[in-house]
């Protein structure tokens, strides 16, 4: 591991927050629970905290080790490297999904005449530049931009107050608990479970003792913002519109009386997706470099970025198809990466630690 790369606890919290916001800035995974979306947000927050807690524990049990090191340490060099290759695929897939979400939103709302490819390349070139400058550069940008995300989400929430209809929250649990449980599961996996990728950057935290605090603060802020977004969409658009609309967030922003504020949604998307893409790009490039026994991630930034762009254009014909896939298939596809393998890592790490103490 490149020990010269150091990130402060605030920067780590901002990176984690930006990562959690990426993608969910436009699509609300809890929307399928209709007027109970806020309940799904709260339940998924609890599930998300448990997952993030598990990832932090894995990192603490393996100090100074990245996900790739931990996999090879726990499963052995051959099997561990094979699982690491699967994770590299998963991370590159995440890049293309985040990129597809961002380009789909842009072409559907702000740049309807621009081909997806140009927006994808533009986002990726900036990300490549940032990641090549190092993780510290990404961390500093997060430190600067994530507060903008928080402020613009708050601004949108308060500027719409005159249009709020609190009666849209009722009736609570009209269709029973099953849809809420399903939406909670989807939201626990996307975005909280994706934090498993952060295991690639956790060892770069300067004050190791503050990892738990940084991650839980990030999750708490993200959870709060998700509940706020669901409440806002629900009170402004109502459960029907919120569930059906592809970009409910954007539509609710368009309703702000007197001013055109919808660009803030695009800003949020660019901040969230940009940070998520940068972290995934760094994680994938660094993971490949580590597998090949190299210290620097820089060699593989460009190939991973190129593959990410190509895959984002290849995976889905339309953004509707992508959203549907992400809702119905993704939670099951992500289970091994987010729960099964990390659970095995947690158990094996604990056993190995106990053996080492004895």
């Amino acid at each position: 591991m490149d020990k010269s790369v150091k990130v402060s606890s605030i920067q780590m919290a901002m990176l984690a927050m930006g990562f959690l916001f990426g993608g969910t800035a436009v699509v609300n995974p809890a929307a399928s629970a209709r007027q109970d979306a806020w309940i799904a947000d709260i339940i998924s927050f609890v599930g998300g905290l448990a997952l993030i807690g598990a990832y932090v524990t894995i990192s603490k049990l393996n100090p100074g080790k990245t996900l790739i090191d931990i996999l090879r340490h726990a499963f052995g060099k051959v099997f561990g490297s094979a699982v690491a290759v699967l994770y590299i695929w998963y991370i590159i897939h995440q890049i293309s999904l985040a990129l597809r979400g961002a380009t789909g939103f842009m072409t559907n709302t702000i740049y309807p005449e621009t081909p997806d490819m140009f927006i994808a390349i533009a986002i990726m070139l900036v990300s490549v530049y940032m990641v090549k400058k190092g993780l510290e550069a990404v961390a500093r940008v997060s430190e600067l931009l994530v507060p903008v995300f928080l402020v613009s989400a708050m601004t949108l929430f308060f500027t719409l107050i005159s249009l709020y209809k609190p009666s849209n929250f009722l009736p609570v649990l009209e269709r029973g608990f099953a849809p809420v449980a399903e939406a909670s599961f989807t939201m626990t996996v996307f975005p909280y479970g994706e934090s498993v990728i952060l295991l690639m950057i956790f060892p770069h935290l300067y004050k190791k003792g503050k990892l738990t605090k940084s991650c839980f603060i990030a999750a708490a802020f993200a959870g709060f913002i998700f509940v706020m977004i669901s409440a806002r969409e629900l009170m402004v658009l109502g459960p029907d519109m919120m569930t059906r609309a592809m970009n409910a967030n954007f539509i609710s922003a368009k309703l702000v009386p007197g001013i055109d504020i919808e660009a803030l949604i695009a800003t949020n998307l660019m901040i969230g997706s940009g940070i998520k893409i940068c972290i995934c790009l760094y994680a994938a490039a660094y993971a490949i470099a580590q597998l090949l026994g190299q210290d620097s991630h820089k060699t593989f930034v460009m190939p991973v970025a190129i593959l990410g762009v190509v895959m984002s254009l290849w995976l889905f014909d339309s953004i509707i198809e992508k959203n549907l896939w992400q809702k119905e298939v993704y939670p099951y596809y992500a289970l091994p990466f987010q729960i099964v393998i990390p659970a095995a890592l947690l158990i094996l790490s604990k056993v190995k630690k106990k053996k080492a103490i004895k």
């Binding site: 820089k298 060699t299 460009m302 190939p303 099951y332």
Partner: protein, 68 residues
């Protein structure tokens, strides 16, 4: 479109040359590097000529549906 894609890839690789020159374990690194770029180029060309291979999303979907 195909020629444009190939030229685009060449430009990106040329831009990356300075990084490639500095790497250790050149053989292994270059093999993996060009495998990834090659895969991306192949998919791009197939996309450009409107003959894309089966999307991984469809493959994942059928695996998930099979297991479910």
């Amino acid at each position: 479109m195909v020629i444009g894609t190939i030229v685009g890839f060449l430009i990106l690789i040329l831009m990356d040359m300075s990084v490639l020159k500095k790497t250790r374990q050149k053989k292994k690194t270059l093999t993996v590097y060009f495998m990834i770029v090659g895969a991306a180029l192949l998919i791009s060309i197939l996309l450009a000529i409107d003959k894309p291979p089966v999307s991984p999303s469809l493959v994942i979907e059928s695996v998930v549906n099979f297991i479910k």
